[in-house]
Amino acid sequence: MAAAAGFDFRRWRLVLLGGLLVGIVLFAAIFAPWVAPYSPFDLDVTQMLQGPSAAHWLGTDELGRDVLSRAIYAARISMQVALLAVSVGLVGGTLIGMTAAYFGGLVEQALMRAMDLLFSFPAILLAVVLMASLGTSVLNAMIAIGIVFIPGFSRLARASTQAVLRQQYIEAARSIGMSDARIIFREILPNIMAPLMVEAAVAFAYAVLLESALSFLGLGAQPPDPSWGNMLSTGRGFMAQAPWLSIVPGMAMFICVLGFNLLGDGLRDVTDPHMRE
Amino acid sequence: MDIRSRALENGRPTLSVRDLTVDFPKRSGSFRAVDGVSLDVWPGEIVGVIGESGSGKTMTALSTLRMLPKRAVVSGSIELGQRRILDLSPAEMRKLRGDRLSFIPQDAMRALNPTMRIGRQVGEPLVLHRNLSFKAAVSRAVDLLRAVHVREPERRVEDYPHGFSGGMQQRAMIAMGLALEPELIIADEPTTALDVTVQAQVLKLLKEIRDREKTSILFITHDLGVVSELCDWVYVMYRGKVVEQGSVERIFTEPREDYTKMLLASTPTLFPREAS
């Protein structure tokens, strides 16, 4: 169809633009040791709080470290946290949502009320509470953010599963004697992946913001490890003398979040059957 | 003498379609949904257009209503009375639709606004085209609903569409279509979603309306049975073309085209002719 009639640029433009931005961030994260001009930890007391220059394109921080290099390494942490957090949310939420919709009745009531409860906490507060009980570390930040995502994914998975359950191929599967597990994983799951992937892209953007917020509050990545959140937190103290300390991590977050949101919106348009002819 | 030959002696058809062609541009070439269709509906005549999916029957009806998707390319001529439908401005077309020309769709439930009481909806054409107040329109709606045999119409005008059964909803759509005494009613599979007993009542109602109001009806369907019970004249469509036309008796007793014969032979029946 689309392939036969040539590539439809208009339909894919958001995905391409979002993909480009996300690609830049991912590239920086994966190849940080090769891309970054300096180590993110090297101190140079002679070069404290220097503005952008030929040697340090985006300036240096209060300990004379290269801001560009730190921002690039920070992308690593953000991507790791977001990836694991979204995975926790996606897998947990999808299992809960599908189970609730498929079995219905009391199972559904219990699971979805638990999700309501979880959902009613402000996300950042929930993450802070979880971090307080799990201890502050990057791994715990990932898990905390992942748990914050579970209710959203579970609701989407439940609604999508309910739509699939109304299709006759589910009755057909039951009537040939297929087991519940096989129906759930072979018949339902592949048909609810598209909306979940869209949600995952958007959640990725949100995870980056949440991780930064936690780091900003000192609950995520611990210094000297660089993260956009703790860079921003440091930059706040030097707003007047060295604005680049705040602007650089801020812009990095902006590019990353924008990229994932565009990707999510684009995927929604591309996978939405109503948009096809 | 059938209606058609009587009409031919005096006057002109209510609806006259000539060489109607509808194309849908696609990335590679274009798709011709209707290919040079000509048909007439005479005053007081019920004309059936029968065909299977993809025959172009619905596209022909939608062309007459000017309700085709925007990208459709239409050529040919369609005349309703003295008006050349394809040359009318959108505003003129809006005035015509629901007034001189009304449409009864297949799915009444989706065509009715779920948040508006039946009385207001049935009376709405009178508000739009005759400047009646809503109150006057609702009281007229009571008469219209009575005319389509809705019981206790005074009470039912207060109901919302979901309180009506499928058959009742279709009656309400027909009442709405009748509100302004149109010259032509176009009905696209209006009984397909209904149970047979309800369908029989709706078909009877349409015949009654034709006899009483002398309204012309263009009836689009895939069901040969419905055509045999309702229509005076039949056009058989296949792949965008009219392959055969004739009086209902002629089409069913002496079909000429292979496609028509095949349709007749495919139709399951309760009255099989004993194989000898």
Binding site: S175, G177, P190 | L224, G225, E229, P268, L270, F271, R273
Partner: protein, 266 residues
């Protein structure tokens, strides 16, 4: 020949609002016969079929297949019930998983019941496709690439690939054009005769029911109105409702004589 395959005894299904979707229905289907169940919307005909198929649990009554209680079967008995009884559904658009190829769809019942190995399954799928009049290349196609009639042929293939004893069909041709419907009904009858299938065929279309059925059950508001041979029910109906139903059918050959070349269907 009065060997009973399906026995439905006093079966009732009540939904929440106290109305019985199916109300105390008793009937049986003999080996090799086709029972047509006809009724309007809300008659309970599809609910009854789904209870036999073990998709909706009855509120009361028992359903047996070859003497095995369908709803109280366990383990091996349940497997046997599942294997013996297959279904063809109405909607050619939604009765297949859109993300699976026809090959995957047809292999599923064989895999679930552990029949054959990869090679023998592929061979069986090929033969079955050929039998329902589809080219072998259909295995690699996806449902949306097929027409409505082709999809119903695949649905029939899926139902018979395990050589079941019973096939239950719910309005299998209602969404099809008449010319396609005629072909699919013909295929259904041929395969049924070839495999000696017992079948239950649910439809709102009296003429279709007349064409495929040996015996006919008429349902209304969840109750069985009457049951008898197709000849008897359509030629001399006992109940006023059946009479009214027959009179309401817009049948072209009531007014005009059917063409000679039309098969009578009996």
């Amino acid at each position: 020949m009065t060997d009973t395959v399906i026995q439905v005894a006093g079966v009732t299904k009540s939904f929440v609002r106290g109305v019985n979707a199916v109300d105390d229905v008793t009937l049986s289907v003999a080996r090799g016969e086709t029972l047509g169940i006809v009724g309007e919307s809300g008659s309970g005909k599809s609910t009854l079929l789904r209870m036999i198929l073990r998709l909706i649990r009855p509120s009361a009554g028992t359903i047996t297949l070859d003497g095995r209680d369908v709803w109280n079967a366990h383990d091996r008995d349940l497997k046997a019930v599942r294997r013996q009884m297959q279904a063809v559904f109405q909607d050619p658009a939604s009765s297949f998983n859109p993300r699976q190829s026809i090959g995957t769809i047809l292999a599923a019942p064989l895999e679930v019941h552990g029949i054959g190995d990869r090679a023998s399954r592929a061979k069986l799928i090929g033969e079955t496709l050929e039998r329902v009049g589809l080219p072998a290349a259909t295995v690699s196609r996806f449902p949306h690439q097929l027409s409505g009639g082709q999809r119903q042929r695949v649905a029939i293939a899926r139902a018979v690939i395990m050589r079941p004893a019973v096939v239950l069909a719910d309005e299998p041709t209602s969404a099809l054009d008449v010319s396609v419907q005629a072909q699919v009904l013909k295929l259904f009858r041929e395969i049924k005769d070839e495999l000696g299938l017992t079948s239950v065929f649910v439809s709102h279309n009296l003429a279709v029911i007349r064409e495929v059925s040996d015996r006919v059950a008429v349902m209304r508001h969840g109750r069985l109105v009457e049951i008898g041979t197709a000849e008897r029910v359509f030629n001399s109906p006992e109940s006023d409702y059946t009479r009214a139903l027959i009179d309401a059918v817009p049948d072209p050959f009531r007014r005009f004589r059917a063409p000679v070349e039309l098969e009578s269907g009996s």
